[in-house]
Symmetry: C2
């Protein structure tokens, strides 16, 4: 069987192989990239679903508009407005089948084979593969604890004239990093000056620990004339309410949104109206603020436990910037005292010691830093986090 | 803004413009392509959802496997087995976000720009656009009341060596036609002999009126050695349970299924587990046979009312083969006595008389037959169907 040429651009993730080992009994897993199912507001979602089926049984179960279920678009616009001084009309956004579909629609709408796209190094693995399936050549902008290096970004834009720049500016996956306010302004100014599209993927911004992060690029665009027209924003209920609903959204300039709607029509017709109607009722019921406050506190506690344990048990064997939100600690093996400095090698011996994480190299579209690793604290309680980090120390010869 | 080159291959459907007129008060619409929302088993879906949230609240709301929620895959395999003497294992199928996504995944997995694909003339509009977005060159095989012309198909396969052949063999959209048993066997033999992939799209097969249709190509493949390896089958709960769930499935040989899973991973990660868990519980509860019996009887009555009214009021001004299932009457204006023989022209005057339908030309990937029209009886009760056909007669100068 001869498959499409575009499949030559991707390969099944090395991480999938690792995940097969996670079923081993007793493994403490820092490998996931998902929220803790035990924290889902199941009662709230049940009530919302019953309310949706009572209020509009026909519409919730029938075909719907490709651009989204109107009551949900209204709620999402209000949710966005509640998070910053930004006006978002329901017609400024379309509902997507998770934010993964927003990425797919961007690829389908914008990327011709050979087009260049700038992504952070490291970035979300499924973004890399998704854009490559459309034939993108990916360029990576380096990052530090303050997010993407904007000086480097400026050079790369001038050199490559990319179709767009893809950033996860807040509590990035896998980096955990947050782009500073000053850099955010510079990104927007750069976008306007060079007429470059910027995609802001923001699934984690609501999961802050102590204080809210800087305003999103979308919110800041109100202060930088002309920048809103250069900006796309992907949002998602997956990390804050439930991934299983598959409800995300894409905010984009009208001409691009129209093309994305056409592409979506032929991708899945529309996102489940059943899930959309339930999500709309959930947001309308006003349960989100309390649900968010609850998960923020729990994730903050787990992150703090992991940071403290890593410092205590691993010392100078690893280097990391403590995250201020999100799901991840991104760390780098220093190789001090001749210890292991390869994330993939450590991942294997760690599995043998009963703890799992994801090595960092696959998150780089090019020039992987093999000393890196991603540790998620989201689905493990604090005691087990401390136990898992001890096992990691043993795997590193520090036990 | 410069969009991807692939967008040059498609245009927003002319039908969308027509649909904007449907909001006019008092219009009787035969234009839809959807089931009647008033017939949905809302109670059954509510119960199934509550059961799903009770049985596995975490899994139903969490990320899930890209290939689908296992309990649903098991139920769908059993559902397929119940419809014919065919063995389908849960691992033979993946769950898709409606069968539209199965089409999208076929395009992504198989079609390189310039590849040829054979489709029926006429065929499902969103198939045409979906495949063209991946750069397919579409070839059309002519149809009659018995479905695709298999002699013509044989010539076209020899001439064009297509990547695959896409058929809706049972109660087709828009044709309403059903491929005869003899032609089904010939299609399978032809597939084996010429090593050609056949895609069977089967969203309507369960909606028969008097008697079940011939076995699906998938079921028949048990009788034609080697044909199962040439066969892909797309199923859907949209027409028989609820389109809003967006639950379809794709059955394909293992090598192709593996590539489709990879493409789906980067398209939407997975289909809503919330919807999948509800669908699984619905099927497990055994409600489908009774639900199907009910909608079959109602659609059969509506189809009969439309057929009778068309014969009585339009006489020799149109020609059609009465459907034996599905949602559509596909008709051809004969132009007798100098009457209108252009579906698009008639659609305009029909709207002015208070009745809507879809002209047939857009359903042809090439060489449109402009005399054709598609009339759906599914969402209109029998009295209104008779009234609508009378209005159509008036629009044709027969009032």
């Amino acid at each position: 069987m001869r498959f499409a040429d575009r499949l030559n651009n991707v390969e099944t993730s090395a991480i999938r192989e690792l995940f097969k080992l996670l079923g081993k009994p007793g493994i403490i897993s820092f490998a996931g990239g998902f929220p803790d199912a035990a924290l889902f507001d199941v009662d709230g979602i049940r009530e919302a679903t019953l309310a949706a089926l009572a209020a509009h049984p026909g519409a919730a179960l029938q075909y719907g508009a490709t651009e989204g279920f109107d009551p949900l678009r209204e709620q999402l616009a209000a949710f966005m407005a509640s998070k910053g001084a930004i006006e978002v009309a329901p017609s400024d956004l379309i509902v997507t089948t998770g934010s993964q579909q927003a990425l797919d629609l961007l690829g389908k709408t914008l990327i011709s084979p050979g087009d260049k796209v700038i992504v952070e190094g490291p970035t979300f693995l499924a973004t890399i593969q998704c854009f490559r399936l459309y034939g993108a050549e990916l360029i990576t902008v380096p990052m530090d604890g303050q997010g993407a290096d904007v000086d480097a970004l400026e050079c790369l834009i001038a050199q490559h004239r990319p179709k767009f720049v893809y950033l996860i500016p807040t509590f990035g996956n896998p980096s955990g990093a947050t782009l500073s306010l000053q850099r955010r302004r510079r990104v927007l100014e750069l976008a306007v000056r060079t007429r470059t599209l910027i995609v802001e993927d923001d699934p984690y911004g609501d999961l802050y620990f102590d204080a809210p992060p800087p305003p999103s690029l979308l919110a800041l665009s109100a202060e930088v004339p002309g920048s809103r027209e250069c900006l796309l924003h992907c949002g998602s209920l997956s990390k804050v309410l439930s991934p299983g609903l598959r409800v995300g959204w894409l905010i984009a300039p009208p001409a691009l949104l129209a093309k994305a709607i056409m592409c979506k029509q032929f991708s899945d017709a529309h996102t489940s109206t059943f899930a959309q109607a339930a999500a709309a009722q959930y947001l309308a019921a006003g349960r989100m603020p309390a649900a968010l406050a609850r998960v923020r506190a729990i994730y903050a506690g787990r992150a703090a436990a992991m940071v403290q344990a890593l410092r205590q048990d691993l010392g100078d064997a690893i280097d990391f910037v403590p995250p201020r939100g999100g799901l991840f600690v991104w760390a780098r093996l220093t190789g001090s005292n001749g210890r292991c400095a390869d994330g993939a090698v450590l991942a294997q011996s760690a599995i043998e010691r009963g703890v799992a994480f994801v090595p960092g190299a696959p998150f780089f579209a090019r020039d992987p830093d093999r000393a890196t690793l991603r540790l998620s604290f989201a689905t493990v309680d604090e005691d087990r986090i401390r136990e898992g980090v001890q096992r990691l120390a043993v795997a590193l010869g520090l036990g």
